[in-house]
Amino acid sequence: MDNPARAAICQGMEQTDIIIVGGGLNGPVLALAAAQSGLRVTIIDAITPDTHRARDFDGRSYAIALGSMRLLRGVGVWDALKGDAQPMLDIKVTDGRAGEGASPWMMHFDHAEIEEGPMGWLVEDRHLRAALLDAVAAQDRINHMTGRKVVAQLALGGKVEVTLDDGEVLSARLLVGCDGRSSGVAQRAGIKRTGWDYGQTAIVCAVAHELPHNGIAHQFFMPGGPLAILPLTGNRSSIVWSEQSRRAKEVLALDDGAFLEALKPAFGSFLGDITLVGQRFSYPLGLTLADSLIAPRVALVGDAAHGIHPIAGQGLNAGLRDVAALAQVLEDTKMRGEDIGSVIALERYQVWRRFDATRLAIATDTFNRLFSNDNPVLRGLRDMGMGVINAVPGLRRRFIREAAGLNGDLPRLMR
């Protein structure tokens, strides 16, 4: 009986307060925040820790907005990350067209215009995962079950029961789905989804370049979709290249040299010569919104609740905002002695997050439609819009604060 969770079942006690399905990024951060509030958490993770702990840089990284950094700091993982994090000091947004260079209209967001510091940091996937795994392992209130899947769930009166693929049954007061766009937790709870495909694919990779990036992030709006160049530590940058899916398929089939040649016309030459670092990844792009963020004894977080277009790099940050809001609702609920899985507690989370998440989904959808084309009329309109935003300091600062994740009703952990 080496598993304390099983021993607790034998005693007929609830062994955990919250079951989180999904051991990616949102799941562990929520687990850490909830454990800090004194709640006991079990994470059900389909992946084994060895897979999480790939040691070499594989090309994947995340833009962590300032608000998200505060959350990571609050749950005690930022200290382990900050040495490997590249601050994002500046964002330049340009309406581009392959082979023609940048249009004269552009937006320039400089972190010096807000007091709080850099708008965000670029953190490599391997570092973030390792830091989260270490923090989870060090927290007594978290039971991290790896290589296990949920096959059934049932909300009953005062609790929710979850059956794992090996037949083990766990029960808790709340079940949280941090299990991504095709969330099984949402499906089993009967939560329907609304959404559509963009016919675009995101190609994600990293490049090393000759010249320093100076902490500047670039977003080029190309006819096939947006191209983001985000500064990593050293002379390296992360690329998120959205392309029409047909074209993306062709590009992904190329060998590394030919792939770089295909990237160069959009990338330009401002960072000198470029070489690939790590692998290439691709993700089909689509919008998927859960019709509800909650069901009896169930809450959805991150992509399980709202999978959006990566156009502004806001996907993970929106998920972390869910995490911070839910963690705060749970802490307040626990301190009042209320039932953390009750409808009245979950409603507080839904009311708080739903509007913001839907607004972001609509904004990214609209931006993508407005920019991912070569229509001369739209091009004129969007260039004028960018010119106006760039010329008005108040508007500009609003965008900077948005990029830093500081707008709206911020959870305590992000203040």
Binding site: G157, G337, E338, D339, V343
Partner: protein, 246 residues
């Protein structure tokens, strides 16, 4: 548990009622809406009085708490979850099995009893905290009732008592608004004449042998559709804290 003297049909009936008491969108919705702000006040007052850290696990462990007029257990369950040793008493006998069944579903141990504050005081029971929420405006003899509450406290114990103010605004809000217009409460739930002003309640508490230490208003915000506390606005719903001299 002591519920085993009732038959299955009765249990089914009480389960349905338990669902009603705890249905956050049903006829007890106004109580559920008010519960977070009531609990904020109660938990903070108890934590301050007994030096407890609300962030800790089971912060109320070792405290004996009595909830008078416990209904379905909307306050008893949170107190038990926070670690207190809880007794809930209600004059309506049918509330007792309802509350017992729900506590069992929630995995909580709470001592629910059919009875009155006066009878319990006569039996010599003593508590660290007496919760007396939205009851005093329903009793025939408020001073006698509050005196019984005082007797139920250990020396130095804490008495939390909420009720509704008596003025034209409370008539408009609590009677016309809550009962006639919004139909949050059945007509006739409250008799405006039995409402008590904060000064009257303070006098009653003093005459009952308690020392009033705080009073705070509960204010309903129609735009946000939520309740919040206010130190100055005691015009309709309000709550008081009083201690029994050690």
């Amino acid at each position: 548990m002591t519920t085993n003297t009732i038959d299955d049909q009765e249990v089914a009936k009480f389960e349905a009622m338990a669902e009603e008491w705890w249905d956050e969108t049903g006829k007890f919705k106004p109580l559920h809406m008010m519960n977070p702000v009531r609990l904020d006040y109660i938990t903070r007052q108890i934590a301050a009085e007994y030096n407890r850290d609300l962030g800790a696990d089971k912060p109320f462990a070792g405290l004996r708490i009595l909830d008078i007029g416990c209904g379905g257990g909307l306050l008893c369950e949170p107190m038990a979850r926070l670690g207190a040793d809880v007794v809930g008493v209600d004059a309506a006998p049918r509330n007792i099995p309802v509350a017992q069944i729900h506590a069992e579903q929630s995995g909580l141990t709470i001592d629910y009893r059919h009875g009155t504050a006066e009878a319990m005081a006569a039996a010599g029971e003593q508590f660290d905290v007496v919760l007396n929420m939205e009851v005093v405006e329903h009793v025939a003899d408020p001073l006698g009732f509050l005196t019984a509450c005082q007797q139920l406290l250990k020396p130095g114990g804490l008495h939390l008592c909420s009720t509704i103010n008596r003025n034209p605004k409370s008539f408009a809000m609590a009677i016309v608004g809550a009962e006639w217009v919004m139909r949050w409460l059945p007509k006739g739930t409250h008799d405006w004449n039995k409402f008590i002003t904060p000064d009257e309640l303070f006098d009653l508490l003093k005459n009952a042998g308690l020392t009033p230490v705080d009073r705070t208003g509960y204010v309903f915000n129609f735009l946000a559709f939520t309740w919040s506390t206010s130190p100055d606005d005691l015009s309709v719903n309000y709550v008081t804290a009083a201690t029994k001299p050690a």
